[in-house]
């Protein structure tokens, strides 16, 4: 404090008055876009190769390594199915409860999320209830599910993962390992048009079909995949 009372106040006021006339430092954001440094890694990005196709092959390594599970993805697997999905609810079975996820800073399953192929899941629930939601009886559950639906719909797999607490990757891996389990309705395998499982017609499904058609068109008829069969 200076000797003269009030001099400090006056000096401060002189400083603010000087700043009043100085050039301003605000970034005028919407007009002047922000300078983002090339190293900025706040945004997830998918990379494309020189042919314009995605480099990402949905191996989930990034999602599995990400500690806060901010990476979530869906994709087409080698058989051309929208079978793969990764998310918080699948990874940590014991922490699926919403409040726990919130407290843990994890993403909360979105109730508004619509499955790719919505189907009536009450049969799966009954099977799960019968099997006591026990992940160790996974094979039994999967067999029963296949018996109920004729094949293993993706939504049913997710429900099984959700109900038993087993990781989705584990359920999916089990289902792919055994030859008697299949992911496509037998009707489609035979080449018929009508699906067997009681699917619900939805926009998603149509989008899926459209997407597949577009994919076929892009790849060309010559390279059309054999339906659901690995040669």
């Amino acid at each position: 404090m200076s000797l003269i009372p009030g001099l400090g106040i006056v000096r401060g006021m002189a400083l603010t008055l000087r700043r009043f006339f100085q050039p301003k430092v605000t970034h005028l954001y919407p007009e002047v876009p922000a300078e983002i440094s090339p190293k900025f890694r706040g945004r997830l990005q998918l990379l494309y190769d020189e042919h314009g196709t995605l480099k990402c092959e949905t191996c989930f390594q990034c999602a599995q390594a990400c500690p806060i599970e901010c990476i979530d993805m869906g994709g087409v697997d080698t058989k051309g199915r929208f079978a793969v999905h990764w998310g918080a609810s699948e990874t940590y079975g014991e922490r699926r409860e919403e409040s726990a996820l919130r407290r843990a800073g994890r993403t909360v399953p979105d109730v508004a999320y619509e499955h790719w192929s919505p189907i009536d899941l009450s049969a799966v629930d009954a099977i799960l209830h019968e099997a006591d939601h026990d992940p160790r009886r996974l094979l039994e559950i999967l067999g029963a599910t296949q018996a109920a639906y004729g094949y293993l719909p993706v939504a049913a797999l997710k429900r099984i993962s959700f109900g038993t607490g087993a990781w989705y990757a584990m359920v999916y891996g089990t289902a792919t390992y055994y030859h008697h389990l299949r992911f496509e309705p037998p009707a489609r395998l035979a080449g018929a048009d009508e699906p067997v499982a009681p699917t619900v017609e939805s926009g998603r499904e149509r989008v899926e079909a459209d997407y597949l058609a577009a994919l076929d068109q892009a790849i060309g008829p010559g390279s059309k995949r054999p339906a659901g069969r690995v040669n």
């Binding site: 699926r96 409860e97 919130r102 109900g163």
Partner: protein
């Protein structure tokens, strides 16, 4: 590693140490019984050859078989951190005397250890939960803590009231069940 500190500790607390003095990097570790905590820490704090004036950290540890209270101390007489482990508390009712008579600032750290591990610090004037809700029933950092069950055991059921729904929930997991759209 400060060899002299090791010698001094061994000569001063010879019979009180429940294990060998361990040294690694810049840390010296001694183990004592929980009952000896006030006397040992008082000696470390006051005596001129130690002068451990600063309580750097106080932590609870659940080893799966026993509970430990771990004190980290700093002194200008040595270049090492001194780690004092009060070992061998039972997991059912872990009890250890409080060090708040030496460091008032240990109060909240003890409260935290109580909140997370259920270690009772005898002599702490304000030993209550600090992070978790007051009616929370379990101790989250214990190794046998299982969130879904333990949170549900509390009267308020964790923080469920923030996002209660009226829809059907899975009896097992408590998660909301989405109704598949009827055809």
């Amino acid at each position: 590693m400060d060899r002299i500190l090791r010698c001094r500790l061994e000569s001063r607390f010879g019979e009180r140490l429940t294990g060998p003095v361990r040294q690694r990097h810049d840390e010296t570790e001694i183990r004592i019984a929980p009952g000896d905590v006030p006397e040992v820490l008082l000696a470390l704090h006051d005596e001129s050859e130690f002068r451990f004036r600063m309580l750097s950290d106080l932590a609870g540890v659940d080893t799966g078989t026993t509970m430990q209270a771990v004190y980290h101390l700093w002194s200008d007489t040595t270049a090492d951190w001194l780690r004092v482990i009060a070992d061998g508390m039972s997991r059912d009712d872990p009890r250890v005397p409080s060090v708040t008579f030496l460091w008032k600032g240990a109060e909240w750290m003890e409260r935290e250890a109580y909140d997370m591990f259920g270690i009772t610090f005898e002599g702490n004037r304000d030993l209550r939960r600090i992070y978790m809700p007051p009616d929370y029933a379990s101790f989250p950092l214990r190794k046998d803590f299982f969130l879904a069950d333990d949170a549900a055991r509390s009267p308020a059921g964790g923080v469920r009231h923030m996002e209660q729904t009226h829809g059907p929930t899975n009896a097992q997991t408590g998660a909301r069940i989405r109704q598949a759209p009827s055809s």
